[in-house]
């Protein structure tokens, strides 16, 4: 490792290369703190050339690396790799160009999601993918995990909003995927790269597609006496032929937490809350609104509220988007899950999650993208209690298996990372996994790019506190 570090020191001044304990320690985790691993170094490149030079060095010495933005991953996607380095892209944070006529923007990977929309709002445009962490998370991370958000029900995930990418492959070679316009020929290489969880290198420049800001919004809150009833209401709304911009559900615990965090004005007596937002041209939204109110009347909604102005609307969303972190007010520790079920199975899935929760004697808060069946059960536990983390992990596993059984997926938008790696063989066949592995090796034969994430194999990361990971104990994962 010494010769590698010596060369790295030639590349970076000491204020952009961290090797000491105090500077490395805050990088041991991302948004999922149960996994911790100390890198051998953190580097802070200022431009694309420095990233490329770093990758060439990693390739030469076969040193694994992980690219990191704001470190908000909930699946351990930007967890450092043992004996590897962290490439922090926070200073590659420039919006390179904005083309309002063609509705595109070219950005560096360290640009914060919400900053894109802020920069183009003067042209009446915005960047549609809106993960709840959009005020913090970076475009590079959105690309790696194909991030969604409340409004991807209507507008699609990140992959639907990326036109072209300038990529530094794991050996430092530069390739251009896709192009600058909406039309593309040949295989969808952008589609392959987006959501690859950092296995194929680092995006240096990203051509984003922008959308005109909807002319009109209608945001409705409907409260229900049970989570199941709210889940079923989603089916009723969809069956009425409306495609809302977003359809979200929060249960009582999530409402309580979000309300404490931002005073969003949610009804406090509801067991479940359905948030529906219509957006688009004013006349169309009004027509949809009439149809939507009729549809909701058929459900068992006990109260309906409508946002009176844009401030109220923004507050409703602020509450929803703060909900994950706000749950920290209810419990010292929690695990966020990200399973997906077919929309028609929502009610069934929620009922079963609730049953599994009481069986494990653990509280489960639910806040999720109901419109696309993307569940986010938050399993609350107290890490100070002996065996509590293991119990929570076991429940998380049961919930993921439930999603698979119902025909869904282990992840909707948070990614596999290290957290759900052990479940990949349950979702994919051996042949599928083998195909993944061969694609990966064709691009990165030494597997240095974000080694140990998403695909099974390779060592499990070091764990936070007390001995082996529960999945390790169960023989599902292992360290080499």
């Amino acid at each position: 490792m010494k010769p590698f570090l010596e060369k790295l020191r030639q590349l970076y001044p000491s204020d952009r290369l961290y090797e000491d304990n105090a500077r490395l320690t805050p990088y041991v985790s991302d948004g999922l703190t149960v996994f911790r691993e100390k890198p051998i170094a953190v580097v802070m490149p200022l431009d694309s050339d420095e990233v490329v030079d770093t990758l060439k060095l990693c390739h030469e010495f076969c040193v694994p690396f992980v690219a990191r933005g704001s470190g908000t991953s909930l699946s351990g996607g930007s967890l450092p790799i043992d004996e590897g380095i962290v490439i922090s892209l926070n200073r590659l944070n420039r919006i390179l160009s904005i083309d309002p006529d063609n509705r595109t923007a070219r950005v560096q990977p360290g640009v914060i999601n919400a900053h894109v929309s802020a920069a183009v709002t003067q042209h009446n445009l915005y960047f549609a993918p809106d993960p709840s962490s959009q005020s913090v998370c970076t475009i590079g991370g959105n690309l790696a995990f194909n991030s969604g958000g409340a409004h991807c029900l209507k507008y699609g995930m990140t992959s639907n909003h990326v036109l072209g990418i300038k990529v530094a492959l794991p050996d430092g070679e530069i390739v251009h995927l896709g192009n600058d316009s909406l039309e593309n020929v040949g295989p969808d290489c952008v589609g392959l790269f987006v959501g690859s969880e950092g296995l194929f290198g680092i995006a240096l420049e990203i051509q984003l597609r922008l959308l005109p800001i909807p002319e009109s919004f209608r945001t409705i809150l409907a409260s229900y006496d049970s989570l199941e009833a709210a889940g079923e209401a989603v089916g009723t709304v969809v069956a009425s032929g409306i495609l809302p911009g977003a359809m979200e559900i929060m249960d009582k615990l999530a409402i309580e937490a979000a309300e404490a965090a931002v005073n969003a004005g949610y009804p406090q007596d509801a067991e479940a809350l359905l948030i529906i937002e219509l957006d688009g041209e004013a006349a169309a939204v009004e027509a949809e609104f009439t149809a939507l109110t009729a549809a909701i009347e058929q459900t068992q909604a006990k109260e309906i509220r409508i946002a009176q102005d844009n401030d109220e609307r923004l507050l409703i969303w602020k509450g929803r988007k703060s909900a994950f972190s706000a749950v920290g007010r209810l419990s010292p520790d929690y695990l966020v899950q990200d399973g997906v079920v077919p929309r028609s199975k929502l009610g069934e899935a929620l009922k079963e999650i609730s049953r599994l929760g009481s069986e494990s004697k653990l509280r489960v808060a639910n806040v999720f993208h109901a419109g696309d069946g993307n569940l986010h059960p938050l399993i609350l536990f107290d890490g100070k209690e002996k065996g509590a983390l293991e119990k929570a992990e076991a429940l998380a596993g049961k919930i993921l298996r439930l999603c698979l059984k119902l025909g869904g997926s282990i992840t909707g938008e948070h990614g596999v990372g290290v957290e759900k790696k052990a479940f990949m063989p349950e979702m994919f066949s051996e042949a599928d996994l083998d195909a993944f592995k061969r694609i990966r090796q064709a691009i990165d034969p030494h597997e240095i790019s974000n080694r140990g994430k998403m695909l099974p194999g390779h060592e499990a990361p070091a764990l936070s506190h007390s001995g082996p990971h529960p999945l390790e104990k169960a023989g599902i994962i292992s360290r080499m």
């Binding site: 105090a22 500077r23 200073r91 944070n93 913090v136 979000a258 972190s325 920290g328």
Partner: protein
């Protein structure tokens, strides 16, 4: 967040540090509003990074000396508290941690001298006046002095307003609605006595009797926020004795003092029970001038002047983040005929003044100061209003190179019934 801090490792006055660590979920929502993260861009200079480092230190896995620079870099602006969905009270961690680590800290002679100079001049108006005069002579050589001293001299005002003597007591005008005691403050008394003079006029005109305890002194916030808790306790005790307990409120016109005095409960945590009770009683009376005026129902000045003025309101961190007071000053200003309120971009980002931060970390403070002034000037305002003397001085200082510097005033000055022409 999980931690392994042994409950016996911390004495009662420091055990409050555990709760903020437990409440942090490491989500990163604090990052974009943290002034050091937004200028330096690295994790150890972010709130969640510092929380993690403090956790490791309290667990005994790191030595306090290893994390010193990153703890020192923190402005204590508490923007992270405003942006935290999990409700982490970061202030209840950073302030006691600074005091906890100070006891074992080895400081260089220059550092010690600088801290001594700070604590022995700023809180004492007469010494502060004398020091400002001396500083004036050193201005030509300021940049050759150690950084902190250089900054002290550079920031020292060109000239101070004449000394203002306050009476002990100002009766309410018209029917009396209440009685308050006013903290005159230390640096503010030397830099801008006009602020308290305006506050007294506004209060008395609103039917409030104002008492000014003669033997009062500095509130101790400056010392408290740099880890000198003993010095802070001494200052607090002096005011416990000086202030009457039978008033409706203890009013301050400086956000930094207000937030510090509201923190006395934490300052005296784990100490003598009698003093804890005294600290709680004192803290519960403390109110910012705007908070109080808004609560009693402020009667705006009557005026026939139809002049319109555009006011950019700058949120002082220790008012907005630490005391969570944002709407009161705005609604007060909006109640005054002719005032249009403007909101600058990045309201949550600190101006870099932060107590003595602009002396101890002049480079970061300058970057933040310039950024704040640019945002304020972009609003096109005629005048800038804020609720803290530190912010006021910092904004004025970084407006110096502007062709036509915009006047910076305390909110209460605009609520005072003065000639509009004087305002702009």
């Amino acid at each position: 967040m999980l931690h392994n801090i042994s409950e016996t490792a911390l004495t009662p006055e420091y055990s409050g540090m555990i709760k903020p660590i437990e409440s942090c979920v490491h989500c990163g929502f604090c990052l974009p509003t943290c002034p050091t993260y937004s200028t330096m861009g690295d994790e150890m200079n972010s709130p969640r990074g510092r929380i993690f480092l403090i956790k490791e230190t309290l667990e005994g896995r790191m030595d306090p000396s290893e994390i010193e620079p990153f703890i020192d870099n923190c402005l204590g602006c508490l923007a992270c508290v405003s942006s935290c969905p999990s409700g982490v009270e970061y202030g209840e961690l950073i302030t006691p941690y600074r005091a906890w680590s100070e006891s074992t800290r080895e400081r260089s002679f220059t550092e010690k001298l600088q801290r001594f100079a700070l604590l022995k001049t700023i809180p004492h108006p007469s010494r502060f006046r004398a020091a400002s005069k001396i500083a004036h002579f050193f201005k030509p050589i300021a940049r050759h002095l150690p950084k902190g001293f250089g900054a002290m001299i550079e920031l020292a005002p060109e000239e101070l307003p004449p000394k203002h003597e306050f009476k002990d007591h100002y009766p309410a005008i018209g029917p009396q609605r209440g009685q308050v005691a006013l903290l005159i403050g230390c640096a503010q008394q030397a830099l801008a006595p006009r602020i308290n003079a305006a506050a007294i006029r506004v209060l008395t005109r609103n039917g409030i009797e104002v008492v000014i305890p003669k033997s009062q002194g500095c509130c101790g916030s400056l010392a408290m926020h740099i880890g000198e808790s003993k010095e802070a306790c001494r200052a607090a005790r002096k005011n416990f004795d000086a202030f009457p307990t039978d008033v409706d409120a203890i009013i301050t016109t400086a956000a930094g003092c207000g937030s510090g005095m509201k923190e006395y409960t934490h300052l005296f945590a784990g100490q003598d029970i009698e003093e804890q009770i005294q600290a709680n009683a004192f803290s519960s009376k403390v109110m910012d001038i705007c908070e109080y005026l808004d609560q009693i129902g402020f009667i705006p000045p009557k005026t026939n002047d139809s002049a319109e003025i555009k006011v950019a309101y700058h949120d002082a961190c220790h008012l907005a983040h630490a005391q969570k007071i944002r709407s009161a000053p705005r609604s007060l200003l909006q109640s005054v005929t002719g005032i249009t309120l403007l909101e600058p971009a990045e309201w949550e980002i600190c101006c870099g003044s932060a107590g003595s931060y602009n002396i101890e970390h002049p480079d970061t403070a300058k970057e933040l100061g310039r950024r704040k002034v640019a945002n304020l000037y972009d609003t096109g305002a005629d005048i800038i209003a804020t609720g803290n003397i530190g912010c006021l001085a910092q904004i004025e200082f970084h407006s110096k190179d502007k062709d036509t510097p915009i006047r910076v005033v305390h909110t209460v000055e605009l609520l005072d019934e003065v000639d509009r022409k004087e305002r702009c």
